[in-house]
Assembly symmetry: D2
Homo-oligomer: 471 residues x 4
């Protein structure tokens, strides 16, 4: 399960090394995408950009950052690719020039009508370098821009045509524009630094990283323009039912981020509380699978009164360069990534908290590790409902035939397959209460199959990968 993207943008009243701010911001958003990243900067309307495959620390070295230089405005992006594959042209921000000037766009989300929109542009002779939705959004904005006098108005007209999830930062020669789809599937917020620069980010943790104070989330349907004339908000498309992806709280977002006024860490503690209330069990210790199960485990402990313990040591040096051992060593080598602290679980009844079960193989191994370390009982609790349906709004989930919750018919069967003494998931109802009484409503399509907006027939992520025969 992967988030697809994180976006960032900054508008500074004075020219300075704004790519450095974006660099710090992208480091803070790295958890939202590790495949590629990029930064584009506008210096008096001249655009420079640097993009590449890899982590922020791999793509941007000192000479690269230095070449980006100074400017007033910059946008950045981290990406986990699902649509489009390893095409360099898909790395964001998409930087283009058009009739009226330059434009750079960074996008988090997924459209459900990208195909038909793209066809419209192709019918007019449009050419596409990549396969990502982002290029379609840019095309639409540029098309509308030719009919109106301001880019912000072109964005408004574009949003009326887009269906799906999009939280975007857009840079023109003089303005930074942030906009978010009317459902608000993906988070987007903004803040301000002490020296007067406006900062937009997928998550508030990246505002912290550059010393900006969070002002508020950009509302679903809102367009905010940052420029010399100040900040303007266009709310004509606001007011629909919110459908924030509930996995932002459960898994994607960093615990130190605040979404819709709710600290993500708090929502995870709360998930633990709900889990403990809904699915109590007699046990001696509560442990979490690092990193994302830790918070809910602490919440479970608080609610249940069962002591919290540190059950695992996660090797922080394992990265992409790690060469997995050959098949015959694999079984033992699980421990290289996650080793049990036997002291914590030996001869105990253990409550094990994780954020989700996808295929079940990892859960099965972890339960086995615990038993080998001496755990008497292992009761697994999952801080999300079982997901059984595809996401069309920017999350990459495994195919249905691989999902254990689709393969098996009951929670009992799943418990048996992973070897747990008991298993329980968070209820969908509880998931809807993760933001407390803020009134925030969620998309729960991946649990229920009921989506906030219609999914067009055309929808499928495979179009551009398929052979296209001509003549």
């Amino acid at each position: 399960m992967h988030e697809e993207c994180g976006v960032f943008g900054i508008w500074s009243p004075v020219k300075r090394a704004v790519p450095r701010d974006v660099y710090l911001g992208l480091y803070a958003l790295q958890h939202r995408g590790q495949e590629s990243c990029g930064i584009a900067v506008s210096c008096d309307g001249v655009f420079h950009h640097l993009k590449g495959d890899g982590l922020v620390g791999e793509v941007f070295d000192r000479p690269g950052l230095d070449r980006l230089g100074e400017g007033n405005i910059a946008v950045g992006h981290v990406r986990y690719s699902t649509t489009g594959g390893k095409n360099h042209n898909n790395i964001q921000p998409i930087v283009i020039s058009h009739m009226k000037g330059n434009m750079a766009l960074a996008h988090n989300g997924n459209l459900v009508n990208a195909r038909s929109l793209r066809s419209q542009h192709e019918l007019c002779g449009g050419i596409f370098h990549g396969t990502a939705d982002t290029e379609t959004i840019v095309y639409t904005i540029v098309s509308e821009r030719l009919k109106v006098t301001a880019t912000a108005e072109a964005v408004f007209r574009t949003m009326q045509q887009l269906q799906g999830a999009y939280s975007c930062t857009l840079m023109t020669a003089t303005k930074l524009i942030a906009f978010r789809d009317p459902n608000g599937f993906r988070p987007l917020c903004y803040g301000k630094t002490a020296d007067g620069a406006w900062v937009v980010s997928s998550e508030s943790c990246a505002l912290d990283a550059v010393g900006a104070k969070l002002i508020r989330d950009i509302d679903p349907g809102e367009i905010i323009v940052f420029g010399k004339e100040g900040v303007t908000s266009d709310r004509r498309l606001c007011g629909q039912q919110r459908s924030l992806c509930v996995f932002e709280y459960i898994y994607f977002a960093r615990p130190d981020s605040i979404i819709e006024g709710v600290p993500v860490h708090q929502s995870r503690l709360r998930a633990g509380h709900f889990l403990a209330k809904e699915n109590p069990v007699a046990a001696d210790v509560v442990i979490g699978v690092p990193d994302s199960g830790i918070d809910a485990a602490l919440g479970y402990s608080q609610e249940s009164g069962i002591p919290y313990g540190v059950g695992f040591l996660k090797n922080k040096y394992i990265g992409r360069s790690f060469i997995a051992p050959s098949q015959d060593m694999r079984e033992t080598a699980v421990r290289i990534k996650l080793n049990v602290i036997a002291e914590t679980v030996r001869d105990k009844r253990v409550v094990l908290i994780d954020d989700s079960i996808v295929r079940g193989t990892t859960s099965e191994r972890i339960v086995r590790l615990l038993r080998e370390a001496g755990a008497k009982e292992v009761h697994m609790r999952i801080s999300s409902p079982p997901f059984r349906y595809p996401c069309f709004f920017g999350t990459d989930v495994d195919s249905r035939e691989n999902l254990i919750a689709c393969r098996l018919n009951s929670v009992e069967e799943i418990a048996k397959e992973i070897g747990a003494d008991s298993l329980a998931y968070l209820s969908v109802d509880a998931a809807h209460r993760l933001a407390g009484d803020t009134g925030c409503t969620f998309c729960d399509g991946c649990f229920t199959g009921r989506y906030p907006i219609d999914i067009p027939e055309e929808q499928g992520k495979s179009k551009f990968e398929q052979p296209i025969q001509e003549e």
Copy 2:
């Protein structure tokens, strides 16, 4: 003085590792561009490509080539960038998708009406990712493609709109199309391998590299389509006065290539003959500046009867990673790149042949090295006329204020500045006879300022680098 590009393409009746052929072909064309390169392949209509900054041997490693896999058709490109700068989006081939399918284009040359063509597409909402002419050509082809049923016809319609130099290889899902501007500024030829694959290349040396036999040059104005139905030629735009860039013979092309039926090596020997006839001098030895002055030196020796000698040793390990010494060591460190073989010139009257003088600083140093090695007299002979005017067709020359032939008023003054006892250039008339009696005619705009086609007012390479203010 730099050539901008080399192009390559292959169509194979059977699916195989055609990217390997392109790889070999680009190695043979590397002298035409060392800044970036790329290969695109079509496997049953699915396109894959790999592009990057650097030499062919740097961009393509074994895993990279392996990922490109197999296919029927592939195109490749080596690039020396003048327009567009270090924008990754400018690296060719340009690979795009459109209404009717996919397309990949590799282009050598330079348009003179790119700006107005680009504006036309922008007026229709077109967006441009890079700043190279190539993207404009692709846009035009796609626009026309929507109106006609075949890409080749779209190319024909496009060529009616393009002004300037273009030798191109174009890949669609099923066809390889090669086309060349009606003036034939840049070379383009094709051949066939023993196993029936058709190969198109900027120069025939790359055909040799993949074991293909040269069939003939693609004629100025000709469009050739390679596909399952065989090879078809569209000659509707042929018949104009040819204007091959004379520097292809003098400097750019590899001596083992054959252009318009004339071996490049032969044309350089001939330049030496002409030089000896037009500008004889009493001397003891003829030497050439490696690598490009060697052939003309041998020709001068043959015509004059003055013995040919090896005057210099060129260090073949000096590449881009070489760290030039600091200012105070620079004077002595010229020798690291080019060392005189003193034995050859000591106490002798030397005829020194080079292909051109640009700023004069290198020539001055070389003459000094010869004198320090004991040469009694140094008579410099240049195997091209002095160039005094800009090139609009794909060659990157220095700015006029730097050109020694523009700065100084006479050949005598130049001779004095570089320290030669005498100096002579090839006459423009002789340059026109470098292809012998083949009837090949040349563009001599850089010598005379008279260009084969009108240069629009708009022409200027700087547009896309300048700030574009919006709103």
Copy 3:
């Protein structure tokens, strides 16, 4: 404060890809040294090795591991250099050949009489390629080896000459030998895999990584030989007072390792318990500085009854490639590495647990971050005594003038400088009880200045870096 090294070794009854095991083991020991690493393997007595600067994942790629091939025996090392600097010849294992064969040695620790031993060998014409103690140990072993018939006996004779800390793995053509100084300053243990291979490691977490079961610690003064004849132990030098470095429990070792039968995680919980008993304070939440303060914080919470909370989010992507912001951004950019989860501390009295205070600057920043996030009070508790004296046994501590506990006269002054409402350290007495009732005794020289063995006058780490004038 840095640990200098981790060592690993394996002896397999059958020939197989033992370098892969070492690779996994070094990944698990990476926390003990991040500057360089190496693996040496013996295949029927032929040695191959690969060493380099960087992390295990940087030095060893797949082709490198493949080149190491298979074998029966292998040793490995991770290193944080203090003595010797960035000399490639100092990277371990040291691999040499001598009169009787080959030898590879990996060493964790620091000798106090390296200088005089080295001089003895130099007096006999010995030459040294590097500046690390390890080469001196090898020299001594080889010298003794010439006098006796077995390497193990040469090791015994060598140990009688060595003074200081050394936990070593030594590979000969047919044997793996592990030995540890009689004080047992640094840990060393061994175990066995299911398929009968013997494994030696600085910490048991690396045994887990290769699927080996921990048998026991190698005793201080013990020499263990693994070979075809089985396992033999030489205990002639055992029996001295143990002086394990107490920082192995407090900071260096991984919490999932077991040293002297005591889980490191448990000893850290216990440090928290002691801290809470010795220095109670009225507060609302206990938080730890990640990663090493977490365990003690949990212990403090357990003992005090004050709830445990997650106070910080540590950015796991910040590595050596991170480019620190310029001076003016630095203040805000602390948060990129460690961001407060404000929810946890807002309006609360906070107990903040860290493992040590070195210069005090980091502690000061962290306290400030907490206050900015709304903490009402910040009570800092340190899970080790203040260190005020140099370590001669393998730990790299800052110079005395930088140590805040040396600079300032009282805990109150330190509390004031870092801005804490109160501050307390673990008592030296409590430190001695971290291993519980196992009878394990410790070196507390860095707290008390009283060392278990005499420190020779000569001791100083700078010798080999100083100019050596000759003639």
Copy 4:
């Protein structure tokens, strides 16, 4: 056939960036070894060094050179490894410390009694990190240094023990010492820069590279010491019969170098003259195989009166990163490296000059390429005698079973196998006259099997690669 090494050294009266000079010098000596290289510098007696696998331009980047800093003395080395394999410890200069100080040694050549010398040191407890002869030389010098008061005297005593080829540069804290074996197998010369620095190099082309004037060759058996007291020469071991490797003239050395007063280029022209006199043939053109056959081809043309022509284009971009095509493309892909200029040879009787034939496969391909290009006859002339015996003095030749001159019984058979119409080698007698009347005498062991010094039984290059069993 490969040369093993090139050495360089500099002594400057003032402290400056001497590593830069060595860097330039090694670039000029790169043809003598491409596998690894290194530079060591002494700054007031403190040594720093940087070594690595690869070309000079790969091992030394700007930060690396900067870290080496300034100094008075520096030595450098380029290496093609034959003995020792890919062991990092074999990369030179060997930098060590000993009883009396530091030392760095760079060595070109090969000892024939390395094994017994090494054993002597091992018997005293000596340990060896690598497998190269150089470490043995260092050990011997250090051993002797303990008995005498000056390093130069230790070198003298060492040379009395060494048997074989060695041209060395040795750096101590205050002196640069150059010494050459009494047979003078490998070249070594010295010169002086305008600013008073003394420079020692394997070849004079590297003196040119740093702006030094060649003074003279260092005589066989001579020891020269450069220091504050000036330059001193120890000639006690001079006076033996010289045995310069004749392949230095024929193949190894750069044509712009001067050895024993004879320009290498001149000796190669002379080889061409001898070839033409000894083996005349009626032909239309003489061509050489680039790069090393060019000079002799020109000499053959001068002597015979047959016109000289350019027969091949060598692709200068093919380097180690080139990925050779798969087997089925290999035949055609020879041309990627060496393409015939058909114009030169079509319908002609061709004399083809190369410097040697090793296995014959390359010669066979080249002859075939010429015939395919239309050559009527191909007469091959080799500018060296056939080599049939191993070299023990620093040249790496193929194994006897691979050498075509060993496999086949007559020149006629060889001619037939490579497909030439005729074939002739330079006579051994002519080879002895390549230096003209300078009185220089040569080692011709590889042609005759008669070596200037006895080859010990023990000699064999494989010792240290073989398994060494112990205990």
